[in-house]
């Protein structure tokens, strides 16, 4: 007896869109053909049911990426801007980036899924010995878009990754980062902030695999979710037997701005070495009513006081962005999203 999976229109459209594709896109096509889009029955997708979210997606769409040319020739101090745009319908695209040893590069990815899009974007990165990548991802989608961004990042000895991801959500927005961390002077900083209005979902999924000794990883993700919004955080640190003296710290904190806000968090440590410093913290809370009253007593209107409190709460991970102009730009972006929320 053989079982044939019946594809929903979005799955068929994605398979069609990737006809003749190679590499990562071919893999995506074959996985989709064989298993369909992941549903909440998959452990890794239990709070982000992609098949259900893509239910209304039909037809083949286009994923356009501008700025790719700059990836081919990198010089120390370069700042690259990639604008990734998914039109209505199913689409996928990928790119590769090698940060040469000893150079420092800033990459800004601006992701935008349009109404009715099922966009897939994948980046494969290698940071060579002593190289540094400052990666900023701004996920700014239409409320009815479905968008999956993912990255495989491999560090060599002495390499540095500083990543900051901000997301205002979509019908479903997921950002996955998989990091191979060799230790031996390499270090990883992961920052993230999400701010979600009603009807919006954002999923931050990260896996950091420590394979060699002495690796340092710091992660701070903060979120604020309005009633009817859903924030998901899945963080995993794996520390191999060989990765002694790893120092890895994961923190996720989020504010529930209304009674019907949903926040799902799964911080995980998988440790096989015995001489390590690893910790994870996860805290959900509500806005401090006493602080709110204090601010109003000084004359700030309630909406303004709320916005100021949320902004200061979410600003902490953005302070990890090294470039001051970029940091300010992200804070302005955040303020604008907050304005729309309150």
């Amino acid at each position: 007896m053989s079982l044939t999976l019946s594809h929903i229109p979005a799955e068929q459209a994605l398979i069609d869109a990737l006809d003749g594709a190679t590499g990562w896109r071919a893999q995506l096509r074959e996985t989709t053909r064989k298993d369909g889009l992941p549903t909440r029955r998959h452990e890794l997708w239990k709070w982000s049911d992609l098949r259900r979210a893509a239910n209304d997606v039909t037809g083949v769409g286009a994923l356009t990426v501008s700025g790719l040319d700059a990836l081919a020739q990198l010089a120390d101090g370069d700042r690259i801007e990639l604008a990734v745009r998914a039109s209505a319908g199913a689409s996928a695209g990928d790119a590769e980036l090698v940060v040469p040893g000893g150079t420092s590069v800033t990459l800004v990815e601006r992701l935008h899924g349009e109404a009715g899009a099922l966009g897939n974007w994948h980046l494969n990165v290698r940071i060579e010995a002593g190289g540094r990548l400052d990666r900023i991802v701004v996920a700014d989608h239409h409320e009815s878009a479905v968008f999956i961004g993912s990255a495989e990042i491999t560090l060599d000895e002495g390499a540095t990754l500083n990543q900051t991801l901000i997301d205002s959500g979509a019908k479903l927005s997921r950002n996955e980062t998989h990091i191979a961390h060799p230790g031996q002077g390499a270090s990883v900083e992961l920052g993230g902030a999400y701010i979600l209005a009603a009807g919006r979902h954002a999923d931050t999924t990260t896996v950091v695999h420590h394979t060699g000794p002495g690796g340092i990883t710091t992660q701070l993700v903060k979120g604020a979710v309005a009633s009817g919004g859903q924030g998901v955080f899945q963080g995993k640190f794996i520390v191999d037997r060989a990765a002694q003296q790893t120092d890895a710290r994961m923190t996720h904190r989020a504010l529930m701005l209304g009674e019907k806000a949903e926040i799902d968090a799964k911080p995980e440590l998988e440790i096989y070495a015995d001489d390590v410093q690893c910790a994870h913290g996860n805290a959900l809370g509500t806005l401090d009513e006493t602080a709110l009253f204090y601010m109003r007593q000084r004359g700030l209107p309630e909406a303004k006081a709320r916005a100021l409190l949320i902004e200061s709460y979410l600003a902490e991970p953005l302070d990890m962005v090294r470039d001051e102009a970029l940091r300010d730009e992200l804070k302005v972006w955040l303020r604008t999203r907050l304005g729309a929320l309150t």
Binding site: D288, E289, M295, R296, Q297, G299
Partner: protein, 254 residues
């Protein structure tokens, strides 16, 4: 200026029960006067300060409170602030991530906007705050730190008075401003408060001890017990309370 008539208020306790705290309190503070309210713990002094400023969970069940001709109960906390009502908190609140200087500028301009006045420009504001900070021995470095975060009890109280100097309210309520202050800080804070005394400004000084009133001499002293004013008199009443305690008023209230 502030007219409170037969005010009654209840508060929801943590177990969800409603408890009457103010039980017919009447008080009249004319412009230019400083009134002190003294009373034992639990008499309702802090509740009065929260009811006047509009904190959630403090429900007016009877009577009236009028400030500058407006019915306070009908106004949101920020509207009362814009009218010129200022509360110096017994426990000033920490606001991580918001620099004091930013907070104060936002607050001042929000109040001015509500009153239909022009915004204060950044240079004007810096000049203003420098001058006031000096008066209270507060460093600019402290002002750059987040509101009240990591400040000692005395520093927090100094900041409360500094905020009042900048916002220039018409009426100040000082809730246990002397608690947590050593002698030197008490002097600095009282000097700040005295500098705010003006013919068009009223003050209500809530305190448990007479100590603060040695520095800020009140025009009238009220004794509060069990949610009511049970006696009023001149500054000598504060000294009498210090010597004899509150016992006899507790008897009267019950």
């Amino acid at each position: 200026m502030l007219k409170i008539q037969d005010l009654r208020c209840k508060v929801e306790t943590q177990d969800g029960e409603e408890k009457p705290i103010l039980k017919g309190l009447s008080l009249d503070v004319p412009a230019g006067e400083v009134h002190a309210i003294m009373g034992p713990n639990g008499s309702g002094k802090s509740t009065l300060s929260y009811v006047l400023t509009g904190r959630d969970g403090y429900e007016v069940t009877g009577g009236s409170m009028e400030f500058a001709g407006e019915d306070l109960a009908a106004l949101a906390p920020e509207e009362r602030a814009a009218l010129g009502l200022y509360l110096s908190f017994q426990y000033p609140v920490e606001i991580p991530g918001v620099p004091t200087i930013t907070f104060l500028k936002e607050a001042l301009n929000a109040q001015r906007a509500t009153r239909g006045e022009e915004e204060v420009s950044a240079p004007q504001f810096m000049k203003l705050i420098r001058e006031k900070a000096k008066q209270l021995n507060v460093s600019m470095d402290m002002l750059k730190r987040p509101v009240n975060v990591g400040f000692s009890g005395g520093e927090k109280k100094r900041m409360e008075i500094l905020q009042a100097l900048v916002l220039e309210p018409k009426f100040l309520i000082l809730d246990e401003t002397d608690s947590g202050l050593d002698i030197d800080a008490l002097k600095i804070v009282s000097d700040g408060v005295n500098a705010l005394r003006a013919p068009d400004r009223g003050m209500l000084v809530i305190t448990h001890y007479q100590r603060l009133l040695d520095h800020i001499t009140p025009d009238v002293v009220h004794v509060m017990a069990d949610g009511r004013i049970v006696k009023s008199g001149g500054p000598e009443l504060a000294r009498e309370l210090e010597a004899e305690g509150y016992d006899k008023y507790l008897g009267e209230a019950a």
